[in-house]
């Protein structure tokens, strides 16, 4: 089971849950599972998020692999200047 950490404003939309366990092997499965379990999260997920897997930041990378012991953070979507 992968442990997914929701960060920042995302946890409010997930009924205050910060750490969520799920059977997910890639980013797409994480996002689909989150949207299914926490419908209030879906608008934010649709607007876009970043996912950090073992310290490496991904955006829109559905097929980035997640291992059972990976550190996974779902974060606000990164932007810059």
């Amino acid at each position: 089971m992968a442990k997914i950490v929701l960060w920042g404003s995302l946890k409010q939309a997930a009924d205050g849950q910060t750490e969520i366990e799920m059977d997910a092997t890639n980013v797409r499965e994480v996002l689909d599972t989150l949207a299914e379990r926490y419908p209030k999260l879906k608008p934010q997920l649709d607007r876009g998020v970043s996912v950090s897997i073992d310290g490496v930041m991904f955006r829109d990378a559905w097929f980035a692999p997640i291992k059972p012991d990976s550190e996974v953070y779902v974060l606000p979507r990164m932007a810059g200047g």
């Binding site: 404003s9 955006r59 990378a61 953070y73 990164m78 810059g80 200047g81």
Partner: protein, 751 residues
């Protein structure tokens, strides 16, 4: 100065300093910027802007303007239908006011005419009836319960239960880990302070400019200065109901952007005027319009509290950040909250951010958006704590620095990072031990930025004479043409001079994200290397055909295909030029392509050191010496990297000492011009020294990290620490202009 720590690969082109490919064009005036585009039958566009900070628009009468000879089109809010895409709604309201003007300078109508003089006269003939409403400018004032409300339907998101009452606070964000109260209870010393920063503009020298042409067949062309022409195409297509493929956008050379050209302002208006007039329309902003109607960065109000043990180890840190983002939600407070304490290894940390709307222009990104103000507040308190525990500021930071394996204050665990290396190098640099005179002070500060990659698409075409055309889709705002040319040359094994990189229009390549997030040298560089490898594979295949040996038995070395392996046979290596000359006979043109949504950009850290002198009689600050220490992963073209470091420091000097949006009681901007909004000029700056550190980014084939943004994160704090040391009193409000410094000195003297 470049200092390499762990890079194993030997480079031939990367790391050298060849001439920049756009240099001659730019110094001879041949380069074409946004306002240099012209077309036969072109009209001149101008925009009428609100003189009020907050007003209901009761009516707009354009009838007299339309009748004026030479006027070919007038557009108002009625010419812009509500877009389907939710992410375009704020932009739709920003490019042309709907029911309310939300800030001084908000666009209300636009005209296209045969001359600028006629267009100006037409603007005078447009009659707008306003009902002036109460306004709010300051972020703290806007958060008060009785503040004038900008958007009656705005409810603060991120608060449970969701509020029922309208508010100017669009979002509340929270980050952190550990037990903050327990952490402060463990501290021997706790310092808590409040800070303010004023809005500063990116200050690009080239105003926004574009030329739009939409024909009766619905096909359009747009030439403009932007940081992302694919973004412009998609936003304009969505706002005007044009198919994406029918709008072609070409980016001009760009006279600075720094984040400020990552959205659209005049481009949809020019297209709407052109469509209505059936003629090309050129629209160029004045400097006054740039200040009043484009996006400066947020102003902010920040509280910071940090606790330490007597030995200097931090036990807890907390920050509450309030950023106003102008009349629309989306201030970079979330990034401010995430980056506040990213430099430190903290067991207990909490940051709270409030995204606030005010009657100001919609903020736009400015290098490392949100981070410099947060670093100013945090690094000021860190400086005080170091003094309090009797440690030098570099040792204090080293004791608490984030390292590989540190759980960052924004969540993820850091991989290999370079903060420690920048601090160690700063300690041994001659600047740190140089003597100081009377009224002089030295400050140091650290800074962090995420960096990212994103969608990128490049093509690399091998010419029949063995030269190479690299086609990419990111406007060159910081030397990307040079660095991509170098990476292509490095990978192909040919000289830099044999490659030319051009920035293609939106019809030529797949989607390329905006040039932002310090992403281009990393992401487009990665794509260039992969496209070169794609072309190399094809060239090895052609050589294999010529030699009649398996493709696997050919390798690419030093710009040549060579037979390799026990059964490859003995053949004279074929150069890239020889293979290019035979391309037609061996299968046709040779090209390499690569498309990617690049990840693994690698975070970046810097330490800045600055000496200043404060004139106690006038409050004027002179910057005497400045040194930047930053991790670049791998500096592809060190001169450009140094330029990025120096540019960030120079803009930071302006933000720290002089730059400020000044509003009158009527909510109108008082200083929309470079005479009254003072950016640093050459005589305000010392030579900014740089030390490039190279801690390779494992996410890039050459170890590259973005360098464009981190360099603006530490200067506000470093300069504030230096000024505070020189003045003998802590400065907590930016800019530290002479009146603020004099007041601080006088308040201090009065006790």
């Amino acid at each position: 100065m470049t200092e390499q720590t762990a890079l194993k690969r030997e480079f031939k082109v990367v790391g050298t300093r060849p001439l920049r490919p756009d240099g001659i064009d730019k110094v001879t005036g041949r380069a074409k910027f946004g306002a240099d585009a012209n077309a036969p039958g072109m009209l001149y566009g101008l925009i009428l802007r609100s003189p009020h900070a907050h007003a209901r628009i009761k009516s707009i009468d354009t009838s007299k303007a339309e009748k004026l000879q030479g006027v070919k089109a007038v557009v108002t809010r009625d010419d812009f239908k509500r877009p389907d895409r939710a992410d375009l709604i704020d932009i739709w309201i920003n490019v042309m006011a709907r029911d309310k003007a939300l800030y001084d300078g908000h666009a209300v109508a636009a005209v296209a005419a045969t001359s600028k003089a006629v267009a100006r006269e037409a603007l005078r003939l447009i009659k707008v009836k306003y009902e002036v409403l109460p306004h709010v400018i300051d972020v703290d004032e806007a958060m008060k319960p009785d503040a004038p409300i900008l958007h009656p339907d705005m409810r603060t998101e991120g608060v449970e239960p969701k509020p029922k009452k309208a508010s100017n606070v669009a979002h509340r964000y929270e980050f952190g880990h550990g037990n903050i109260e327990k952490g402060f209870a463990e501290a021997d010393i706790v310092i808590e302070r409040s800070f303010k920063t004023e809005a500063s503009h990116q200050g690009y020298i080239e105003p926004h400019a574009c030329l739009a042409s939409v024909g009766p067949d619905g096909q359009g062309d747009l030439w403009c200065c932007t940081q992302g022409h694919f973004m412009v195409r998609n936003a304009c297509a969505g706002l005007l109901g044009i198919d994406v493929a029918k709008l072609r956008v070409t980016a001009s050379e760009i006279g600075g952007g720094f984040g400020g050209k990552t959205t659209v302002f005049i481009e949809p208006v020019a297209l709407a005027l052109s469509r209505k007039a059936n003629r090309p329309v050129k629209l160029v902003m004045s400097r006054n319009e740039v200040f009043r109607a484009t996006g400066p960065t947020s102003s902010s109000s920040i509280d910071v509290k940090i606790g330490v043990k007597r030995n200097g180890r931090m036990t807890a840190a907390r920050a509450e950040l309030r950023y106003q983002g102008g009349a629309f939600s989306g201030s970079p407070v979330e990034f401010g909250a995430m980056t506040s304490f990213a430099c430190y290894d903290l067991p207990n940390v909490q940051t709270i951010g409030h995204d606030v709307v005010t009657n100001r222009p919609k903020q736009v990104a400015y290098r490392a958006p949100g981070a410099p103000m947060a670093a100013f507040a945090v690094e000021s308190v860190v400086d005080e704590l170091a003094k309090k525990v009797g440690m030098n500021p570099l040792e204090f930071r080293l004791l608490n620095a984030a390292r590989q394996g540190t759980k960052s204050s924004y969540g993820p665990t850091f991989g290999p990072i370079g903060l420690e290396a920048t601090l160690e190098r700063a300690k041994t640099h001659g600047h740190y031990s140089a003597p100081l005179g009377p009224n002089q002070g030295r400050g140091v500060a650290c800074g962090f930025w995420f960096n990212f990659g994103g969608n990128t698409c490049v093509s690399l075409n091998i010419g029949e004479d063995g030269t190479v055309a690299l086609t990419e889709g990111n406007p060159d705002i910081g030397g990307s043409r040079a660095s991509l040319t170098m990476m292509a040359a490095e990978e192909l094994g040919i000289p830099y001079e044999k490659v030319r990189t051009v920035i293609a229009d939106t019809g030529a390549l797949g989607y390329n994200e905006v040039t932002d997030g310090s992403r281009v040298t990393f992401a487009a560089g990665l794509a260039t290397i992969k496209a070169a490898r794609d072309a190399i594979k094809k060239m090895c295949g052609r050589a294999a055909k010529i030699w009649d040996i398996p493709e696997e038995a050919v390798v690419w070395e030093n710009g040549h295909a060579k037979p390799a392996g026990p059964n490859a046979g003995t053949f004279k290596p074929l150069s890239l030029a020889e293979l290019a000359a035979k391309a037609s006979a061996t299968g046709g043109p040779i090209a390499g392509h690569f498309e990617v949504n690049a990840d693994g950009a690698g975070v970046s850290f810097a330490t800045h050191m600055v000496d200043v002198e404060v004139d106690p009689d006038t409050g004027r600050v002179t910057v005497l010496r400045y040194t930047v220490f930053q991790d670049a992963g791998k500096a592809v073209h060190p001169s450009y990297v140094e330029g990025q470091f120096q540019g960030g420091a120079a803009q930071g000097v302006g933000w720290a000492l002089n730059e400020e949006y000044v509003y009158g009681k009527d909510g109108r901007l008082q200083n929309p011009g470079f005479l009254d909004y003072r950016i640093p000029v050459a005589s305000d700056l010392p030579m900014i020294d740089t030390v490039i550190l190279e801690i390779p980014n494992p996410g890039h084939p050459y170890g590259v990290r973005g360098v464009g943004e981190t360099s603006i994160v530490p200067p506000l704090a470093a300069i504030a620490n230096a000024v505070s040391a020189a003045a003998g009193v802590r400065l907590t409000h930016l800019p530290m202009s002479p009146p603020r410094i004099l007041k601080a000195l006088m308040d201090h003297q009065r006790g």
